[in-house]
Amino acid sequence: MEFSQITISAALPEFILISLALVMVLIAAFAKQTETDGEGSIKLVRTLSLLGYFAAFLALFSVPDGRIVLFNELFAVNDLVIYMKGLILVGAFFASWLVSEQWGEGVDRPEFHLLVLMAVIGMLLMVSANNLISLYMALELQSLPLYVVAAMRTSSLKSSEAGLKYFLLGALSSGLLLYGASLVYGFSGSTNFEAIASSLSGGASVGMIVGMVFLLSGLAFKISAAPFHMWTPDVYEGAPTPVTALFAIVPKVAGMTLLMNVTYSAFGNITDQWMQILIALSVASMIVGATGAIMQQNIKRMLAYSSIAHMGYALAGLAAGTSEGASAVVIYMTTYVFMGAAAFGVIMTMRREGTPVEKISDLAGLSASHPLLAAAMMVVMFSMAGIPPLAGFFGKWYVFLAAVNAGLIPLAVIGVLTSVIGAFYYLRIIRLMYFEDSDAPLDDGASHQNRMILIISVGFILLFFFGIGTLSQEAVSIVSVYF
């Protein structure tokens, strides 16, 4: 294999992050021995990883336009992939930025940032996967560090439970995915996406469809679409809050892009078959997400159900199987990242007497004690509920429009209904913040980076209205690679 200019520039973000990760391994290993508590090394590692995400983001602009296939056709880059990689890097930047060095909960160690960086590398490679083998390997590279960071708070039983649950179910889903992949390979004779697509030009055999179902189930687990969502609430609740923030913001983007890649490029010739699966997943996720969140007392748990619902809406766009639907997914995931960052920007300032609190009832009376924070949370909640003219509304609007135009009217109707149910619990938080009093107000003093993240992401949500025209055109052009 030749290591040409194009190889380097097309995979530059990954090269940067991988070399940085290797350097960080050494820092994490050796800085600790010399220092008493590793305080200095965690700061260094965190700064390095933030710089790395930034550098990788810049490096994305060096990636040549059009479709490039590298490394013996195992790795592919196109406009959609580049956009999604950018989104992942932004999300990862937010998630790492949110964690201050003194957060505690077991994440105040250099290994945390290192593992997150590894997971982000996995996500970038996952998005670029062009072969069932590289898909699986990248997926594992993404999942393994996430299992570990979920259990990072070794002193907490809940965190260990979260890690273990996530690991066991994740391993099961990887098994499903592999089983499916082996069937697909068996019936198509290749693991390459293009070769699979061309073998399907004459329609699919039973084995192929069975394989595809398993493959999609495995991927659905990774984006926590119902009925493969069981792990989500427990993991979100048990994991340390910064880890939950990471889970809520980034991996779903990678998973959704991968799902898009697989369905549109590998199985692009049998749209009718996978459409039914995606519709079922979408409906189930929307219903589970909307109804499950109602009774929750813990805000992390509630956001877990909310993310299940969000995945349901995004899947509705994917299920449309049209260029319009795909571009709607792109828009939806964009808004999703910023809403997630904003929501956790608020949650991670919630402290009472120095210790983090995570009950929904702790938000009571927030408008009186912290008016700005309450306003930010209100914007986020309105956006998640889909109230115009906020970002979340446009995401839903494009998705449902695509579903209707593709003839999936029942799907769109269910989507609108579940949005209404969902609005109930988003609005409940606003009611708590504005119309109820609290005897013990939360601590003051959001950290500097929390404020910055809130300003950026809430600003994005508020001003999304002005950029939507450009974004939607852009989205249509970047998904054109598949149509």
Binding site: F75, M118, S205
Partner: protein, 200 residues
């Protein structure tokens, strides 16, 4: 002729051992049967002229992975009858899922037309070399990716289990070696019957 006899021998023992893994009452026996299954799988590889893979299977899975399995299983103190009760509770559901999978498997089996490319013939190059030639060229991407995954697994295992304990005195061999006689040994003249005074 002979190779097909051996094929059925290895395959048969492999399947039987696999069955015993799930059905034997004692978990240590399960692991031992698992090892037997690995062995027979290695035998099957040899019949395919893939002796390198066969040896690797034995070295890696039998020689290392299964040893750790055995370790863990032997150390665990689990009440297996309780586990079995839990198993009974979900047995009907498990059987249902198993049946569905079996039907699907049969459906795919009968549909199969066999459009997989046949195995590349070993030819003049023996398979260790052949593997080396593709792993480090065509599949270098996957090779490196696998390396990263293993690195992550290692870091993760250390991050989860390493705990700093206070009050532990560790042996630092460099310190021990760098000690000189002058700073550690002090000769004192002890008078008979007086004993050693303070070793200042």
């Amino acid at each position: 002729m002979l190779s097909s006899v051996f094929f059925y021998l290895f395959a048969g023992i492999c399947c039987l051992a696999g069955l015993m893994v799930v059905s034997s009452r004692n978990p240590v026996h399960s692991v031992l049967f698992l090892i037997l299954a690995f062995f027979n799988a290695a035998g099957l590889f040899i019949l395919l002229n893939a002796e390198f893979l066969a040896m690797l299977l034995v070295v890696v899975y039998v020689g290392a992975v299964a040893v750790l399995f055995l370790f863990v299983v032997m150390m665990l103190d689990i009440n297996y009858s309780e586990l079995r009760e839990g198993f009974q509770k979900y047995r009907s559901l498990g059987l249902l899922i198993g049946a569905v999978l079996l039907v699907e498997l049969f459906a795919t089996f009968f549909e199969y037309s066999g459009n997989v490319k046949s195995l590349p013939s070993p030819g003049a190059v023996h398979n260790t070399k052949a593997l080396g030639q593709v792993i480090y060229t065509d599949y270098i991407y996957l090779f490196q990716l696998a390396g990263l995954i293993l690195l992550v697994a290692m870091i993760g295992a250390i991050a989860l289990t390493l705990r700093k304990r206070s009050g532990v005195r560790k042996q630092v061999i460099a310190d021990q070696n760098s000690r000189t006689r002058a700073e550690t040994v002090k000769l004192a003249k002890v008078e008979t019957g007086a004993g050693v005074k303070e070793a200042s």
